[in-house]
């Protein structure tokens, strides 16, 4: 297939002639390896010439913002769509190249870890595939390009759990802080790439839809709620209620009918709306609710558990959502590790639990994802395969310990923040701050730093 280098060593030669998908699996030491070399010791990823990568690493990524994405999608013409396709065609490999370089500079012992190298291979495959896409000149070209994009998105569903497991396993060779930095950079970049890709796919779909009239500006009237993936009028109340319902049902299923699930009570400025990507918001709030409900349920259960109070507060530039529970607060011994991917005392348990998630994600490629309720506005995440939905639907006793750090990365990605205050022995207050991007005050320089190149 892709033979543009001089292979070293006989075994590698054979391996590399395999098609990409098989190659990936061959390197995962979890699967039986066809290579004559021992499957016990970590198999390093194959050597590739670094000149190709160097060229792409040398390019700067162009930052994106919700406002730009919205504005761009408002008046869609064929030429604009093709322009978008070419932007995506160049942006994605650039960003992946930077991440590959990051991974290559990890210590050898870290990169050869089975999980990390699996992810590395996935990335490299995607890179190779994307960088070879020729310039998009016609709608036909665009359609072919979109197929490539969809394939990439689907293949990368298992990245998050694999990475998390890898991080936990390489604690001996890489410090906790460095792991966190590495993981954060990777995840932020991943969010950017997926948003860019998904946005383009959504715009293409809109363009092809029977209600679209080329060039007519009014097709995107101000009442239209969606611009690609972005839901302009995320209503806090609706999303919170939906997440509350899902989280409660999940917990009820897991703990059985005898356990009383705490109610979730709302107050504050409930009519607030703001532009956001619904799947992200659902993930964050879902995680917070799961944590709170679980904490309350696992306390010495009473027949009437204290309710979880949610407050929505609207200001000119922010919307703040506060989730207050009386679940007993956070244990002192895990408090320092709350926001870290490199867990402390609970490492072993987390590792075990994580091992059960990739199976979930891997099978998603074949299984149909559970269809989201079409009546609920805002549930669009499942269109192109949502890794977040996978994680959100895991059973509650599967504690993998990445909910908070992940949620924080998502929150900060759109210039927001996530903060937690624990009243030890009593409960927790979580504060999710959402910036009302799309207003005039958004500064592009923040985007540049967020959009980790």
């Amino acid at each position: 297939m892709l033979q543009t280098f001089q292979p070293r060593g006989l075994a590698l030669d054979t391996l590399l002639r395999l098609p990409a998908a098989l190659r990936v699996r061959a390197f995962a030491t979890a699967a039986p390896s066809p290579s004559p070399t021992s499957a016990q010791s970590p198999i390093p990823p194959p050597w590739r010439p670094s000149t190709v990568l160097d060229e792409w690493v040398g390019r700067e990524a162009r930052p994106i913002s919700l406002r730009q994405l919205t504005f761009f999608g408002r008046s869609l013409t064929e030429s604009r769509l093709l322009g978008s396709a070419n932007y995506v065609r160049l942006e994605l490999p650039t960003r992946i190249a930077h991440r590959l370089r990051n991974m290559q500079t990890l210590p050898y012992s870290a990169l050869t870890n089975q999980h990390i190298s699996h992810v590395y291979e996935l990335y490299y495959t995607a890179f190779e595939r994307l960088r070879k896409v020729p310039e998009v000149r016609t709608m036909n070209d665009n359609d072919k390009f979109c197929d490539v994009l969809k394939m990439c998105l689907k293949e990368h569903l298992s990245v998050i759990p694999r990475l998390a497991m890898g991080i936990l396993e390489i604690q001996d060779s890489v410090s906790g802080d460095e792991c966190d930095r590495f993981m954060t950079t990777l995840l932020r970049s991943r969010i950017s790439r997926r948003v860019i890709a998904e946005q383009h796919l959504a715009l293409t779909e809109t363009f092809h839809s029977p209600w679209h009239f080329d060039g007519k500006k009014s097709h995107m009237s101000p009442d239209d709620e969606f611009v690609g993936e972005i839901f302009l009028k995320c209503n806090a109340k609706e999303i919170i209620e939906q997440c509350a319902k899902t989280a409660s049902e999940l917990t009820a299923k897991a703990y059985g009918p005898d356990v009383a699930i705490p109610k979730i009570v709302l107050q504050g400025h409930l009519d607030t709306t703001f532009p956001y990507i619904p799947s992200h918001l659902e993930y964050i709030i879902g995680e917070l609710f799961r944590n709170s409900i679980q904490a309350v349920v696992e306390q010495e259960g009473s027949a009437k558990p204290p309710p979880i109070e949610v407050l929505v507060c609207e200001a000119a530039q922010h919307v703040i959502i506060r989730v207050s529970d009386q679940g007993g607060g956070i244990d002192r011994d895990i408090l320092p590790y709350l926001w870290s991917f490199a867990k402390g005392p609970r490492r072993k348990k987390r590792l075990q639990n994580l091992g059960q998630v990739p199976q979930l994600a891997a099978t998603m490629q074949e299984l149909q994802l559970p269809p989201s309720d079409p009546d609920v506005v805002g549930a669009t995440g499942e269109k192109f395969g949502s890794p977040l939905a996978t994680l959100s639907s895991r059973p509650p006793d599967l504690r993998i310990g990445i909910g908070l750090p992940m949620s924080r990365i998502y929150a900060e990605y759109w210039a927001g923040s996530l903060e937690l205050h624990s009243l030890e022995g009593y409960g927790c207050d979580a504060f999710l701050q959402i910036s009302r991007l799309g207003n005039r005050n958004e500064v592009l320089s923040t985007r540049a730093t967020m959009d980790a190149v």
């Binding site: 030890e424 009593y426 504060f431």
Partner: protein, 462 residues
């Protein structure tokens, strides 16, 4: 010059601890402090104090020998602490120290050191010596009671010559060290008054309330935060009624009957400051009818510190192994940049190893929150919303119309008014953090503010 000042100082002061000192029949001896003295004392590493040190002399009422031990111990560690303060003041830019207010504080420290040096030459082995020593301690406490307001004024006047960052750095260190120094002195004074020799001397005329069983010096082992909250609610409420005509109320939820071992003066200062903020906010937002909700949450008993947290603390704070730094105490104020590890390891008094569980107090008001611009400056010393003219007015002391909540006589923070000079929050946090607690402020701009005060019990004593 020094001894004249010393003589003039002991007027009947309102500070409760000194009122029982009979007028000294001879002036307090002083000895001139030379630069060599200061250098010698400051070169000594600061003894890493623990509260066990303060409580190790026994449960009151102390016997004569125990009292001497306490005096000698205090005498051994105070001079070097004072010397460190003097040195750190002298490290400030000349033009700042030349300011009359700052220079006064510098002189105060030198004076206090001068009163200690003659006594430090010998051990305390007689009751007469011990009484003299206690008088010196009282003089120390009295002299320095106004330090903060005077320093604040000084820095305000000299603000053109020193950056905010430097002021913050200096004050963070200085005020924390000051808390410790005063604590050592006040502890000895309190132990003196509750001791057996003193009871004999005063023939039972002394009906000071220092004979509570729960007190060890200034530490109340059965302090009920709910009581302090109600007291502060009264005090601050009265002033609000006077100035604004309305009085906000407080609702205490959670576990109001919780008690911890802590220092009442400190807690009172912190809560007064926090309530001042909340009360004023709700009044100005017009929501004073809605009660401010205060949740008292006792932390469960702490298990033995795990090896992992010790390692993590070691990694992060470079403290000695087993040292309790502010990081591993589940302090709410985890992200506070003021918890500089090297400071906490040396100048602060560390809580006992088997610390009794602490308590978290959450104050929730609907006062409209803090604007993002103000939020950035929350922890700055001297952050005010006043313009240049109002600052000048304050500095010249003619701001009589300040009144209201600006004029509050703070207890340990120092005598007269802090006159709204913006020291309340950072100082409150210094007190909270002193034993491993903290203050975190979360603003919901457009709705209200949540303040999380976490207090670590000062420790089990047998």
């Amino acid at each position: 010059m020094l001894s004249l000042r010393a003589a003039a100082r002991n007027n009947g002061s309102p500070v409760s601890l000194t009122r029982h000192i009979r007028p000294v029949t001879r002036p307090i001896h002083t000895k001139t402090v030379t630069d060599a003295d200061i250098a010698r004392l400051a070169a000594k590493p600061l003894h890493p104090l623990t509260l066990a040190d303060l409580c190790k002399h026994g449960h009151p009422p102390l016997s004569e020998q125990a009292l001497f031990n306490s005096a000698n111990f205090t005498l051994a560690i105070l001079p070097s602490r004072l010397a460190h303060r003097i040195q750190s003041l002298r490290a400030l830019p000349y033009i700042v120290v030349a300011n009359p207010n700052v220079s006064k504080i510098h002189d105060n420290y030198v004076h206090s050191l001068s009163t200690l040096l003659p006594i430090a030459e010998r051990k305390i082995e007689s009751l007469k010596d011990e009484v003299e020593f206690t008088a010196v301690m009282a003089d120390l406490v009295q002299t320095h009671s106004n330090t903060i307001s005077i320093l604040a004024r000084g820095f305000l006047e000299a603000r053109k010559y020193i950056s905010k960052v430097e002021v913050t750095r200096f004050l963070d260190e200085h005020l924390r060290a000051r808390i410790g120094t005063r604590l050592i002195a006040e502890q000895h004074i309190a132990l003196h008054f509750s001791s057996k020799p003193h009871q004999k001397l005063s023939d039972g005329h002394d009906d000071d309330k220092m004979d509570h069983d729960s007190y060890i010096g200034v530490i109340d082992t059965e302090l009920k935060p709910a009581n302090i909250i109600r007291n502060c609610e009264q005090t601050v409420g009265e002033i609000c009624e006077l100035k604004y005509g309305v009085r906000p109320t407080i609702d205490i939820v959670g576990s109001p009957e919780t008690t911890i071992a802590h220092i009442p003066m400190h807690l009172e200062y912190i809560l007064t400051e926090l309530l001042k903020n909340s009360f004023r906010a709700v009044i100005e937002a017009g929501t004073e009818k809605e009660a401010i909700e205060i949740t008292i949450a006792p932390a469960p008993a702490s298990p033995e510190e795990t090896k992992e947290t010790k390692n993590k603390a070691g990694q992060m704070a470079h403290a000695e192994v087993g040292a309790i730094s502010n990081y591993d105490q589940g302090s709410v104020d985890y992200a506070s940049g003021s918890n500089k590890p090297d400071i906490s390891a040396s100048a602060n008094i560390r809580p006992l190893r088997e610390a009794t569980p602490g308590v978290t107090v959450r104050i929730r008001d609907r006062g409209g929150g803090i604007t993002p611009e103000n939020y950035e400056k929350l922890w700055e010393y001297g952050f005010t919303t006043f313009n240049e003219d109002e600052i000048n007015e304050k500095v010249s002391g003619s701001g009589g119309g300040g009144g209201g909540l600006d004029v509050m006589s703070g207890g340990p923070a120092g005598g007269s008014s802090l006159a709204g000079l913006g020291y309340g929050l950072p100082l409150g946090r210094a007190y909270a953090e002193y034993f491993g607690g903290g203050i975190a402020v979360q603003s919901l701009h457009g709705w209200g503010t949540d303040v999380y005060l976490s207090l670590r019990g000062v420790g089990k004593v047998d």
